[in-house]
């Protein structure tokens, strides 16, 4: 049986939903180990234990050069564990770490993975979810970046104690990238877009006013997304952009409002379980992929839906 290493750049007080999905996947393999490029707190360690993680490898981040520390930790952890499966998050930063290590260690790097079988065959999305491919490593080690919302979170309910080890790091070999400034983005109470169960997204059709989208999102406990037309117009932060050059989401439910459904937008949301589209143009391409299409004005339909949800939940 194969052994698994999960790598996180950072873990908050408790692991995120996407991180717990990786822990779940790792717990199906032997010796599931976590490596972190920072120092996790007690609570996070407890959560790791509940997934049967026996060992946590850690190394405090000196924040000297961007990305260098994470690369060293992943490299050292792989060497230390000799794992044949490495699981990473699917964001661009983690993909790049995995890809560099794949080059360094002649390992396979597979992105947008939705599952890994016991015999180390990765299932992944191709062509924006149009195809599903099975890929394996030709050299032994498989490095997989796993899409959020692909694995059902399932802790093992064991309370094993976790052994924490400090990793010894060799001096980094890569040229320095200095961090000139780091600005914290405004925190939001809403779920993180990439791992949310429900996403409500607005496009050019909101005409500068996201309040109806926000209101429905609040009623549903959903994350807020947007088309590039809406983010380019500056109506909402670029972080909310869904699509080819924004965030890719696979929620249970995606509500698209005032978005035409261009190919680049669809690339980021067409693997959603259910799609509901509200658009005043009955010929909008988004209706071709919607489970429920509503031809209508979002400024009327969204508030009515939000009020109805609140009424039923009262």
């Amino acid at each position: 049986m194969s052994s698994a290493l999960v790598f996180f750049s950072h873990v908050s007080t408790v692991p995120s939903k996407a991180q717990r999905e990786l822990l779940t996947l790792a717990s199906r393999f032997e010796n599931p180990t976590v490596a972190i490029a920072s120092v996790p707190g007690e609570e996070a360690l407890k959560v790791f234990g509940s997934y049967g993680i026996a060992t946590v490898l850690q190394a405090e981040n000196p924040q000297a050069s961007f990305g260098t520390h994470e690369l060293s930790v992943l490299d050292a952890a792989l060497q230390h564990t000799d794992a044949d499966l490495v699981l990473l998050e699917n964001d661009s930063f983690s993909r790049e770490l995995g890809a560099r290590i794949a080059v360094r260690r002649n390992a396979a790097i597979v992105t947008d993975v939705i599952d890994v079988s016991a015999d180390l065959i990765a299932t992944k999305d191709e062509l924006a979810g149009g195809y599903s491919a099975s890929v394996k490593s030709a050299t032994g080690v498989l490095i997989a970046t796993v899409k959020p919302n692909s694995i059902e979170d399932a802790p093992l309910d064991c309370q094993d104690s976790v052994e924490v080890k400090n990793l010894e790091l060799a001096a980094p070999l890569v040229p320095a990238v200095s961090i000139v400034a780091a600005d914290q983005k405004e925190a939001s109470d809403r779920p993180a877009l990439s791992e949310a169960r429900i996403v409500v997204a607005g496009g050019r059709g909101v005409d500068g006013d996201f309040s109806a989208v926000e209101d429905l999102a609040d009623a549903l406990g959903a994350a807020i997304g947007a088309s590039r037309a809406a983010t380019d117009a500056g109506w909402i932060s670029h972080d909310a952009q869904i699509g080819q050059t924004g965030v890719t989401v696979s929620p249970q439910l995606y509500i698209s409002a005032g978005i035409s459904g261009a190919i680049q937008q669809k690339a980021g949301m067409q693997t959603s379980k259910f799609i509901v589209a509200v658009n005043k143009d009955m010929d909008a391409p988004v209706f071709e992929i919607a489970d429920l299409g509503i031809v209508g004005d979002l400024a009327k339909v969204l508030p009515q839906a939000a009020a109805e949800i609140r009424r039923r939940q009262a």
Binding site: S92, A133, V174, T245, V276, V301
Partner: protein
């Protein structure tokens, strides 16, 4: 100012010829490879070409001796994408074309690209788009930085190039932070679609491109053997690629005052609330 500041810059922009995203795209069931007819320059590479041209224009223009080399690895048709970059304003083209390369994954492709970049003397900066619009792995820039030993500056939303200090500064997003990062040349830079607005080739550009040369090289010319690329040089092996059933349009209703309620009924039926 030292003399070094006037040294002409050598910028290599990597361009990829990809199936047009506006058409249906297919993976062949025989070869498990993407059907590459109807291909165009990957839209996201236009931002990299534009970024390179802007650097040259901000630093004395091509008259100062700077070079923007549009480079690609791929079959003969890929030259069309190099040509498009030349029409936009790149100064010359470089094309690694060898049958043995077909079937390369990212590890093998980055090997071929690194060898191609190394074929160019004194490269200061390698530019790429944020992803190719076909494979969308978004990892080649990082792999090139690893292979070439260059600084890695990826996913730039804006770029400031300081020729005098020989440094590049970028802005990028990173989780819940907005970062300003700086590195010394040589570097690999990938830019997002936020970085600029790519120019369209104008008539003058199209005419000028006819006189620009594209150097074609094979694996031997860049010091690689066939076994280092293609399926043999790849670390992944694709076992199957199945088309997912395409999504079908469901129920479409027209709002006559109650559609918001119908929406909630649908959510309740599907147990989403």
């Amino acid at each position: 100012m030292s003399d070094a500041n006037n040294t002409p810059l050598t910028l290599v922009v990597l361009v990829k010829h990809v199936p047009d995203v506006q058409f249906d795209r297919h993976i062949s069931q025989d070869s498990l490879r993407l059907d590459r007819s109807e291909s165009v320059l990957s839209e996201l590479d236009e931002y990299a070409v534009e970024a390179a041209l802007a650097i040259v224009e901000d630093n004395g223009g091509f008259a100062a001796g700077h070079q923007v080399i549009a480079a690609t690895v791929g079959p003969s048709s890929s030259a069309n994408s190099v040509r498009k970059a030349l029409q936009m304003g790149a100064s010359s083209g470089l094309h690694l074309n060898d049958d043995a390369i077909a079937g390369s994954d990212t590890v093998a492709t980055s090997k071929a690209l690194a060898a191609l970049v190394s074929h160019v003397p004194n490269v200061d900066l390698v530019l790429t788009g944020m992803a190719s619009t076909d494979a969308e792995t978004s990892v080649i820039a990082a792999q090139l930085a690893e292979r070439l030993g260059f600084a890695q500056l990826t996913h730039a939303q804006s770029v400031e190039f300081d020729a005098a200090q020989r440094e590049v500064t970028i802005h990028r997003e990173h989780g819940d932070q907005r970062l300003t990062l700086k590195a010394a040349l040589p570097a690999v830079l990938s830019v997002t679609d936020q970085a600029n607005n790519p120019r369209y080739p104008n008539f003058k550009g199209i005419m000028a491109a006819k006189k620009k040369s594209i150097e074609e090289v094979d694996l031997a010319a860049v010091g690689l053997s066939a076994a280092e690329v293609g399926t043999e040089g790849s670390t992944t092996s694709v076992l199957a690629a199945d088309k997912r059933p395409s999504r079908e349009a469901g129920t479409i209703i027209t709002d006559s005052g109650e559609a918001g309620i119908a929406l909630v009924d649908f959510l309740a039926e599907q147990k989403l609330i």
